[in-house]
């Protein structure tokens, strides 16, 4: 089989597998819909025993990586590369977490699409034979994101109705050529897409066009239709964003049916006051590494198209009145055949 088809999709012939996974979340996520699926829930302290929220985020990545390696029945020395990213300036959470490991480190940034971005890149490197085993991780924390992108936590303002709630948590995967686990079969890298949304409180609408572009490129490159997948999972489009995506796809002649789900809508319960749903790197990372991986391992899901979207803005760009560009990457993961 060829290694690349179309402009955006690459195929993995040597079967890179996800042999270990781990998810850790904060108190609010622990009270959500996926309570029984997360690997670890911090019930009370969203400082994770640290002085600041930034340090708490690092601890989450460290614990996620540790857990993922253990779940793969591997040792730290078996992991040859650590690939991670997050939302904070200069991706400090990932880099500072990497400081405590004796593993070569690559930092990646794709905003909230980081989980899929690192999975796709890891699969490329593993499939190409450059590395045997790669760990990828990402994290986000409500409070660090809020203080970087929005307002002080104690400011008495109302959240705009289109805004989303940044997930506090971290997810990690071990991608390897050896061992057993769900197989990553192909990946579609997305293009930066900007449809001129300027409202930073409406990320779903800003990212939906990028998601549409990537999905269409994927379906064309792989000659598939939405019906060929057990599940099409988007990262953190939220309620409004996923409704827009369904509309946009229909306009292009693709019908997203009941097999389409959005992590941002799954993670929280409706009465948790999260408005449009969850967002942040950890949104897709924790949902994927809990319920989705479990179902892939039990064979309940056989073929999943996992696409995460990211909004590539900074506070500077938005203050200068620039619009919000979006990105979306997708990977196809096939479950263990029973």
């Amino acid at each position: 089989m060829e290694r690349k088809r179309g402009n955006q999709t690459v195929f993995f012939n040597n079967k890179p597998k996800i042999i270990g996974h781990y998810s850790i979340v904060g108190p609010k996520e622990g009270k959500g819909n996926l309570r029984n699926y997360f690997s670890e829930i911090e019930e009370k302290d969203d400082f994770f025993g640290q002085e600041t929220y930034e340090k708490a985020e690092r601890v989450m990545i460290e614990r996620a990586l540790d857990g993922a390696i253990k779940s793969a029945n591997a040792k730290y020395s078996d992991v040859h590369l650590f690939m991670a990213g997050d939302l904070l300036n200069q991706i400090i959470s990932s880099s500072y977490a990497a400081r405590s490991f004796d593993i070569p480190y690559v930092g990646v940034f794709g905003a909230c699409s980081t989980m899929v971005e690192s999975l796709a890149l890891s699969a490329c490197l593993v499939d190409g034979g450059h590395f045997d085993t790669i760990a990828c991780a990402t994290s986000s924390h409500f409070s660090t994101a809020e203080r970087q992108f929005r307002f002080p936590l104690e400011l008495g303002n109302q959240r705009p109705p289109t805004s989303q709630w940044t997930v506090t948590g971290s997810g990690a995967d071990i991608v390897s050529i050896k061992g057993n686990g769900p197989i990553i079969t192909c990946a579609t890298f997305g293009k930066v897409t900007d449809y001129g949304i300027g409202d930073v409180n409406n990320m779903g609408a800003a990212m939906a066009p990028a998601a549409m572009n990537t999905l269409i490129a994927h379906f064309k490159d792989t000659n598939t239709t939405p019906k060929d997948y057990d599940l099409i999972l988007s990262g953190d489009l939220g309620k409004l964003g996923s409704e827009i995506l369904i509309d946009l796809m229909e306009e292009q002649g693709y019908k997203l049916g009941l097999n389409y789900k959005d992590c941002g809508q799954i993670i929280y319960k409706r009465n948790q006051n999260v408005l449009m749903g969850g967002s942040g790197c950890a949104c897709s990372a924790t949902v994927f590494n809990s319920i989705i991986m479990k179902k892939l391992l039990t064979g309940e899901l056989k073929k999943v198209l996992f696409m995460a979207t990211g909004a590539l803005l900074s506070t500077t760009s938005s203050q200068q009145g620039d619009t919000v560009p979006g990105i979306a990457h997708a990977v196809v993961i096939e479950g263990v055949k029973k």
């Binding site: 929220y53 409070s143 936590l153 104690e154 303002n157 409202d199 409180n201």
Partner: protein, 123 residues
């Protein structure tokens, strides 16, 4: 009996000012900083054209507690100082009149900033 009537007016007018602020937030998606700026400048303008005083006589706290009152004090301070000291008043008037409020806000923020720690919103 007359006393209660005053409180009713204060409640109604103060509520109305905040109501208008909320309308602005919903209609224009303004952030709280912009709302505060808008209302302060509004207060300055009302005082400058001389209609703040009659409103204040009627509404009392209903217009003085909202940040409009803060803007009006700034303007009133500047106007009075200009009348008494001339050009220097332009510079000293406004902040002198509002020094108490600003200093209090800074002082309490400093004290409580040192004492307390920010926590994640629990909604």
């Amino acid at each position: 009996m007359n006393e209660w009537y005053v409180y009713l007016i204060v409640f109604a007018t103060g509520g109305l000012v905040c109501f208008l602020g909320q309308v602005l937030i919903i209609k224009t998606k303004m952030t709280s900083a912009r709302i505060l700026v808008t209302f302060v400048v509004l207060g300055v303008v009302l005082e400058a054209v001389g209609i703040f005083q009659p409103i204040s006589d009627f509404c009392k706290a209903g217009i003085n507690v909202p940040i409009i009152g803060f803007g009006a004090s700034l303007a009133r301070g500047a106007i009075n100082a200009v009348k008494s000291t001339g050009i220097l008043g332009i510079f000293t008037g406004g902040l002198t009149a509002t020094a108490g409020g600003i200093a209090a806000a800074i002082f309490f923020a400093f004290i409580f900033g040192i004492i307390f720690k920010a926590r994640t919103k629990k909604l």
